[in-house]
Structures are given as C-alpha cells and as structure tokens.
C-alpha cells in the first residue's frame, strides 16, 4: 500500500514536473520567437505574453493576464477587436483583426492580431496561440501610395520600402476599384441630376419671365399666361423623369407567357459558355425532366439566371486548389412551384451577409455596382417568387429562386 502510494506520488510528481517543463519550454519558445506573441486558455483568458509583448507595451505580465491586455489597445479599436476575439472563441475558428497597440512610450502603432486554436487528440481546444504583427509602416506606405495615385507623385526611397510599397500598391489598386465603382454610381446620379435639372431650369426661367411680364406696365397678360403654361408643362416633365426612373428599376411591364424554365436555362448556359470556359469553370446541369411550365417573362427571368451564373463564376475566380464547379439545377417543388439553384465552390457568403447581398449597392466585387441581386430579387418577386442565398455544404454558396408554375401562376399573376 505504502509502496503503491509512493509510486503514485512519484508518478504524479514526475508528470507535474514534465508538464511544468513543457509549459516552461513552451514559454521559452514563445519568448524566443522574434515577434509579439501570446497565448490564451480555451475560454479566452489570456495567460501568457512573451518578452517582446511585455517589452513593447511596457507592462508586467500580471497586468495583462485575463482581459487586462485590452488596456494597451486603442480605445477606438477595443470593441471591434474584442468582438472578433469572442467570435473566434465561440466558433473555435482561427481569425485575425487589426487594431492599434500602445507602445511603452505611449505611441500607438497598428498591429495585425492573429490567433489559431491548438487542439488535443480528441479535437478539443486546449489553448489559443496568437501573434501580433506591427503593420504600422505598411499602413503608412499604403496611405502614402493611395495619396500618390490620387495625384501626389513621390519617390519610393529604398528597396525595403519597395516591397512594402508593392503590397500597398495591391491594396491601393483594390481601393481604386472601389473608387471606380463609386464613379459608376456618380455617373448614374449625375445623369439623373441632369435629367431633372433640365426641366427645373425651364420651370425657374419660365416663372421668372412670367413675373417680369406681370410686373410690366402694362402687364403682358398673354405672355404671362403662356409662360405659366410652360411652367406647368416643365413640372410635368420633371415628374415624368421620376416615373421613367421608377419604371427603369421596377415597374417594367412584364410580357407573360407559358415558359419552359429548362429551355430558358439552356439558352443562358449557351450564352455564357465561352465566358465560363475562359474562367476555367466546369458547368454541370441537372435539369429535371417533365418540369411544369411557369408563367413568366422570359427575358427578365433569363437575366436573373445569367446574373446568378456570372456571380457564381466570379466567386470562383480565386479558386485554384479545387475544380471550379458550377451546378445549375431545376426541380419541381411540392406546392406547385419550380426551383432553380445555382451552386458554386467559390468564396462563399458569410452567414451574416446572406440577406445583405440582396441590398442595393452592396457588393464584394471589385467591379460592378452591386445592383444585380437587388434587381434579380425584384424580378423574382414580381413573379410571386422568392430568391435567396444559402451557404454551400462545403465551400461556396447556393443561390436559388422558386416561382409558381402552371395554372396557379396564371391566376395569380396580373
């Protein structure tokens, strides 16, 4: 008995010693890494900060532990960083965020915080490991370069800077793409403004003339009557512009006809096949046999399908580690509806953005105005249907619409 206990104690001691040794080895390794590093317990309690971290912030380990580390994060960035961190802890997925971290001398510099979960054999998280990279210079170069592209030429001084500048250039390019998109929007609003300013100009000119004619001695009643009439006409003209704009976006009359959705889909596939080939997209279609006819307007429905196919193809442009597969499916649904789905293996849609993608001017693409899905949804809704997005089982997304078919559609559509 005594012997056994002493063996137990001995074993435990050795095990504890081994664990301590591992822990201290682990800490030694983290201290040796030439970067700012830290670790946290599975629940997010920060338990270790390496020497570089402590030296940078100039605070003792005890003050940083738990959630004390947030004291050195810029107050404006604290909330976002904490939110990302909590999201990572609850999802158990690696993540990253940018925030400003206070140096011991009080200066804030931009850091990129990245953390990965470390798991045991059963897959449970035993620790979080994080590094924080100083990206202040990169941020500045990026800001400088964007300014240069904006028309302030400057000189990039040396080779080390040029690499930073190269990365910054990539970022600046994507910024420019955003500007280009905004420019498209500007062009749209400018042409709307032009269309409305013309009749407004007529209204003001005619009304001014009218007043002057009435002020004359003797007043020019006939002239005033004529210019007042023109004022009303120009007012109607401005109102017509608004009506036309609304028509452009939603009120177009639909030419309804019994429609074979499979046939309409095949035409879209034929139309986009060369684009898909060029983008190395492998298209597969599973079109249900004996699909009932829908009552709809072929052209706008095909626009919707084309839009979904193009989006799916665009979403896979960056995919190089797997075949760029695009699947179009049609099938009959239980309640006299037909469903069409377009499935890709691309970048996918964040779960919180599944509805957002349908908002006007929302886009993740570097080109395009972000109205494709917005307009598509309004077209499907005018067919008394539904258009929605889901995350794919695996990478990518599925966009589907379902519209009423046959007699049901005929009686419901006006």
């Amino acid at each position: 008995m005594k012997k056994a206990t002493s063996i137990d104690i001995g074993y435990r001691r050795r095990a504890e010693a081994a664990l301590r040794a591992r822990e201290s080895e682990f800490c030694l390794i983290l201290d040796a890494i030439p970067t700012v590093a830290w670790s946290a317990q599975p629940d997010g309690f920060a338990d270790f900060f390496n020497q570089q971290y402590l030296a940078y912030v100039g605070l003792p380990l005890e003050q940083l532990q738990g959630s004390g580390w947030t004291v050195a994060v810029h107050p404006d960035d604290r909330q976002d960083l904490a939110a990302t961190w909590h999201l990572m802890i609850s999802s158990g997925k690696p993540g990253e965020a940018e925030a400003r971290l206070r140096r011991c001398d009080g200066e804030y510099r931009w850091f990129q915080f990245r953390a990965n979960p470390m798991r045991d054999g059963s897959g449970s998280i035993i620790k979080w490991l994080g590094i924080s990279t100083d990206i202040e210079d990169q941020k500045r170069a990026q800001a400088g370069l964007t300014a240069q592209i904006g028309g302030h030429p400057g000189v990039i001084e040396n080779a080390t800077q040029s690499k930073v500048a190269e990365q910054a250039l990539d970022r600046a390019r994507s910024e420019l793409a955003h500007v280009a998109r905004a420019t498209t929007l500007n062009a749209l609003t400018a042409s709307i403004a032009h269309e409305i300013n013309q009749p407004l100009s007529g209204i003001i000119t005619n009304a001014s003339t009218c007043l002057r004619m009435l002020h004359g001695d003797p007043p020019n009643i006939d002239g005033a009557r004529e210019t007042a009439r023109r004022t009303i006409r120009d007012g109607n003209r401005a109102s017509d512009v608004i009506t036309r704009l609304r028509t452009l976006f939603s009120n177009k009359e639909f030419a309804l006809e019994p429609l074979d959705l499979n046939k309409a889909t095949r035409e879209v596939i034929a139309l986009s096949s060369s684009d898909l080939l060029r983008n190395r997209v492998i298209l597969r279609s599973e079109l249900a046999e004996n699909l009932p006819l829908v009552i709809g307007d072929r052209v706008p429905l095909q626009q919707v399908i084309l839009n979904l196919v193009r989006n799916a193809s665009d979403a896979m442009l960056g995919v190089d580690d797997r075949p760029r597969q695009l699947l179009i499916r049609t099938r009959r649904e239980a309640d006299d509806r037909v469903r069409l789905s377009v499935q890709d293996v691309g970048t996918g849609v964040n779960p919180q953005d599944l509805e957002k993608v349908f908002e006007a001017f929302y886009t993740t693409k570097s080109s395009g105005m972000g109205i494709g899905l917005f307009v598509s949804r309004s077209i499907i809704e005018r067919h008394h249907g539904r258009l929605w997005a889901e995350s794919n089982n695996g990478p990518g997304a599925i966009f589907s619409f379902s519209i009423p078919c046959g007699s049901k559609a005929r009686t419901r559509l006006v």
Partner: protein, 143 residues
C-alpha cells in the same frame, strides 16, 4: 421672318415696347434642349435684350448671327459639337464673342476649364434670372 433655307437669321426680332430692336444687343442661345430654346429667349427679352436660339453649335456657326452676337449663352454638353468645341472654333475664327456657359451637370471640373479658356461665367442649371443678368452684364462689359 422668312430666311434662306437652312440658314438661321437674325432679323425680325419682336420690337420691344419703347425700344427699337436695333439698339438692343443681340444674345444668341445655343442649347440642344428645346424647352431652354423656348423659355430663355423670352426671359432675355424681358431683361431688355434681343435673343436668338439655336439647337446646335453647327446651326449657330452657319447662321448670319455670328457677327452680330454680342454675347453667347452656350450649353456645355451637346451632341455633335460641344460648347467648349464652339468656344475653340470661335477662337480659331478670331470671333471674340463673350461666352456665358450653362450646364445641367454639376460637374465642378468643367467650370474652371471653360473660365480658363476665357468664358465670362459658367452657370449651373437651374439658375436665377438675376444670376443670368449679372453674367450677361459682365459679358457685355467685357465686350
């Protein structure tokens, strides 16, 4: 009122009460927008000037009004020859007519451009009658 076919003419302005057409400076309006061509001449006459309207720069250039025009009220964006095109053309022909530009596009870059090329003013539509009168006075003064 009759004119040679295809040639716009500058005669036969409605005589304003108490003033003869001959004494009034002629202002030419060039705008592709019909409602401007219809409304602006009336206002300009009310302001005490003679007015003619043309639907394009080409029509104005081929008219017999070029030499008599004391001030040109010119739209910036027009199909075919634009306002700035006409400004350059008149310079080439050494016709120094003061120009008041007008545009319905609130494009902040166009204004400094045309002013640099010697325009008197660039009005954004819609503009008030007083703003127009100020611009015309400045143009006639420049003349």
């Amino acid at each position: 009122m009759d004119a040679a076919p295809g040639v716009a003419h500058c005669l036969a302005m409605e005589p304003p009460p108490g003033n003869s057409a001959a004494e009034r400076p002629l202002l030419s309006i060039v705008d592709d927008d019909e409602s401007v061509r219809e409304s602006l001449p009336d206002l300009i006459r009310e302001l005490g000037f003679a007015a003619r309207a043309f639907s394009s720069a080409e029509e104005f250039l081929s008219s017999d009004c070029v030499d008599q025009t004391r001030c040109l009220i010119l739209d910036v964006f027009m199909p075919g020859m634009t306002g700035p095109d006409l400004q350059r053309e008149l310079k080439l022909r050494r016709r120094m007519i003061p120009i008041v530009f007008m545009t319905a596009r609130r494009n902040e870059t166009i204004r400094p451009q045309v002013l640099e090329q010697g325009a008197v003013e660039c009005l954004f539509k819609p503009f008030s009658d007083t703003a127009l009168l100020e611009a015309i006075k400045a143009a006639l003064h420049a003349n």
